[in-house]
């Protein structure tokens, strides 16, 4: 549980988990913007992502990464907030997976059993620890990226440049709003903020590389979605799956299965990591055994996801972008700023 992980392993996990969010995006997040703005907003995300992370870097620079470990009342509050955020995003990720499986893969079958199976495997993954999740991520990152490249190459002939649109056709504000929504759906910022103490190597440099790589991949995915599907992308529940199912080369047709594989793989890693972090934070702050936290988190996750399962209204409540944005805002910059203030006050009190 106290094991460390290399920056490469850690950001491999982050890349795959963020990729999951992109692969599973639905058009409601981008409905206010046109095709070209959809690609352009990834740059806005990059800038916003760095801005909200500045307080975390300031905190680490001033007081070191070990400061992040939960001590005292503030540490307990921090642990509870992060745990709540990670639990919420676990529910959201699993519900999205259930929506995908129930809509696209077997629409006429109850997928509750699958849901329970995934939770069981993820809980076991969390029990194995961060190192195992990191090694798995390193193992998976190459095939996932290769499969995306294959799908991209197979889609080249379907690109229609006339599907592009003038930049900022609906103004800059909708583009900025869409990018902010995307930042809100990036739980990785919270994960990085809380995981810095376990990362060996240059975590800061890794962060910027990760931001650049994931922005580039997201822009490329949106480019294909926009130029291949045009306005049709707004009529699809999962546009990335749709373009993958349209990809074909030689006698291979409908490469949607590849995306399904990448999706499940990333979901495994993401949920395992989120459960692991909940266990880590709660066990450190309150001295509870990690296995107990994993079990409780798994059971709660199953209960909430089964409640949401098969009900699109409940899913929409869990999937609200505004709630996610507030959670990320509170857990990343606001908590870091609060800690900076707390440390400063404590330092002043000591000097007096």
């Amino acid at each position: 549980m106290n094991s460390k992980i290399s920056a490469f392993q850690f950001y491999s996990i982050m890349l795959l988990t963020r990729l999951l969010t992109t692969l599973t995006y639905t058009p409601k997040y981008t409905e206010e913007i046109t095709v070209s703005d959809m690609i352009l907003q990834t740059l806005f995300r990059f800038v916003f992502g760095i801005i909200i992370f500045i307080p975390v870097f300031m905190l680490n620079k001033k007081y070191g990464v070990d400061n992040q470990k939960g001590n005292g009342a503030f540490g307990k509050i921090k642990a509870v907030i992060f745990t709540a955020v990670f639990f919420y995003f676990s529910v959201s990720t699993l519900s999205r997976l259930e929506l995908f499986a129930g809509t696209v893969i077997f629409p006429e079958t109850d997928v509750k059993f699958l849901l329970l199976l995934v939770i069981l495997f993820c809980a076991y993954g969390a029990y194995l620890g961060l190192e195992s999740i990191g090694r798995s991520a390193v193992l998976f990152v190459t095939p996932v990226l290769l499969s995306l490249i294959v799908i991209g190459l197979a889609l080249v002939k379907r690109i229609d440049w006339l599907n592009l649109s003038p930049l900022f056709y609906n103004g800059v504000l909708p583009v900025a709003k869409t990018a902010l929504n995307a930042v809100g759906r990036t739980v990785e910022y919270a994960v990085i903020a809380v995981s810095l103490p376990f990362i060996t190597g240059n975590a800061k440099k890794g962060f910027f590389i990760w931001m650049g790589v994931q922005t580039f991949i997201t822009a490329v995915i949106f480019f294909f979605v926009g130029t291949v599907l045009g306005e049709f992308n707004k009529m699809q529940l999962f546009p990335v799956y749709t373009i993958a199912s349209m990809a074909q080369f030689s006698f291979f047709r409908g490469l949607g299965a590849i995306i399904t594989g990448a999706w499940i793989l990333c979901a495994f890693l993401k949920i395992s990591l989120l459960i692991f972090l909940q266990a880590k934070l709660i066990s450190e702050a309150f001295g509870v055994k990690k296995i107990t936290v994993i079990a409780v988190s798994g059971v709660l996750l199953a209960a909430v996801c089964l409640f949401i399962s098969g009900n699109v209204d409940r899913f929409n409540i869990v999937d609200t972008s505004f709630v996610k944005f507030i959670l990320i805002l509170v857990s990343v910059p606001i908590l870091a700023i609060a800690e900076l203030i707390k440390e400063r006050v404590a330092k002043c009190a000591k000097q007096q």
């Binding site: 199976l117 995934v118 993954g125 649109s165 049709f232 499940i264």
Partner: protein, 377 residues
């Protein structure tokens, strides 16, 4: 590494369960749909024709072969309810993911097709790459006339439509492209027309021009020559033969390669569309026949005649589509949207008038690669 392997195995187990067919019935309990025809009736209900594969009992009790394909014709208030009712009597599960083509009946084309296609866009089992085509009769009658119980009509249609990459006289459109064009700003759309004919008493299908739609409703037909011009205008022309007349009689070129660059500029408030078509072609048949050697001057004349023929066809198509039918099926208004967004915003409400008043300049540059023999001296 052992722990990573455990996670990998867990992942593979779940992916295996995520196989689309993991929880489905045996093939004999399912009906594989290969083609769907849609008609609308006077009372606004739909008639849906399903061409399905016979998945059981390939022979009758007397040993004679059973038909490979079945036709199911059913009515419903919506397309989806009609499809469901088609399978209610035998309890089989329909498999729509193998559907190759959606055939639009004439009445439905005239009344508007967008509502009828909603099911195909919404339902995840339908692939967005399924081909869409129109017929000049009821879709049910088309399937009845085209079926001979031993071949799959829908697959034949799909094969013909997929040759649009190789044959400039054939157009094609997928469900995804159709929905995109119907939703895009200022765009109409087109789809191929298919028809049946008898070959040695055996029914066959062929592509037979193009149908143009505006606001989801059929507006006009394009014949083979206009279809070729449409393919040139839309940069979809790749290969195929073009006949034309010279002073000495008919001749033909074989297009090897073609590309079309489309641009727009403004003089005052009127858009000027510039269409530049570059073609590489062989002379397939020279006027006069007899295989005589062509002189350099004759080749040049053939080249010029072919260029004029294509140029005039494309210009006349623009005139027909933009001035007469007011249907922007080639999607030229999209160029204004991309390159002059402010002008497009101002013109959005009366786009068809703007497109009617626009100027269309067509330039064809053809390079003859081979004449089949050497120049005559």
């Amino acid at each position: 590494m052992r722990k990573a392997a455990i996670i990998l195995i867990a992942f593979l187990c779940t992916v295996a369960l995520l196989n689309r067919n993991a929880f489905k019935d045996d093939i004999s309990n399912r009906t594989v749909v290969q083609g769907i025809g849609i008609d609308i009736n006077d009372d606004e209900t739909y008639t849906v024709t399903l061409e399905t594969i016979n998945t059981e009992n390939y022979s009758n009790s007397d040993g004679s072969a059973k038909p490979v394909m079945n036709l199911r014709i059913v009515d419903g208030k919506t397309v989806s309810s009609a499809i469901k009712s088609a399978f209610s009597f035998d309890g089989k599960t329909p498999v729509l993911s193998q559907n190759r083509v959606i055939i639009i009946g004439k009445d439905l084309a005239e009344k508007g097709i967008i509502e009828a296609l909603d099911f195909f866009i919404r339902d995840a089992e339908n692939y967005p790459t399924v081909q869409v085509a129109a017929v000049e009769e009821k879709a049910a009658d088309f399937f009845k006339n085209a079926s001979d119980e031993s071949s799959v009509v829908s697959r034949n249609i799909e094969k013909i439509l997929l040759t649009s990459d190789e044959d400039i006289a054939v157009t094609s459109i997928t469900l995804c492209e159709l929905a995109n064009r119907a939703e895009s700003k200022g765009q109409a759309f087109y789809m191929p027309i298919v028809s049946t004919f008898k070959e040695k008493d055996k029914p066959e299908v062929k592509s037979n021009g193009t149908a143009v739609f505006r606001n989801g409703k059929y507006v006009c037909n394009l014949d083979d020559e206009e279809t070729i011009a449409l393919n040139f205008l839309c940069n979809n022309a790749r290969k195929g033969a073009i006949d034309f007349y010279t002073d000495n009689g008919p001749a033909a070129i074989s297009v090897i390669k073609s590309s079309t660059a489309r641009s727009v500029d403004y003089s005052s408030d009127t858009p000027n569309f510039n269409v530049k078509i570059k073609i590489e072609a062989d002379i397939a048949e020279a006027s006069g026949g007899g295989g005589y050697n062509l002189s350099e001057g004759e080749v040049s004349t053939l080249n010029r005649n072919a260029e004029e023929k294509i140029e005039n066809s494309v210009k006349s198509l623009c005139q027909k589509l933009y001035s007469v039918e007011k249907a922007d099926a080639p999607g030229l208004s999209r160029l204004i949207y991309i390159y002059y967004p402010e002008k497009f915003r101002a013109a959005e409400k009366n786009l068809s008038e703007i497109m009617t008043e626009s100027h269309y300049a067509v330039e064809v540059e053809m390079c003859i690669r081979r004449i089949g023999q050497d120049y005559s001296s």
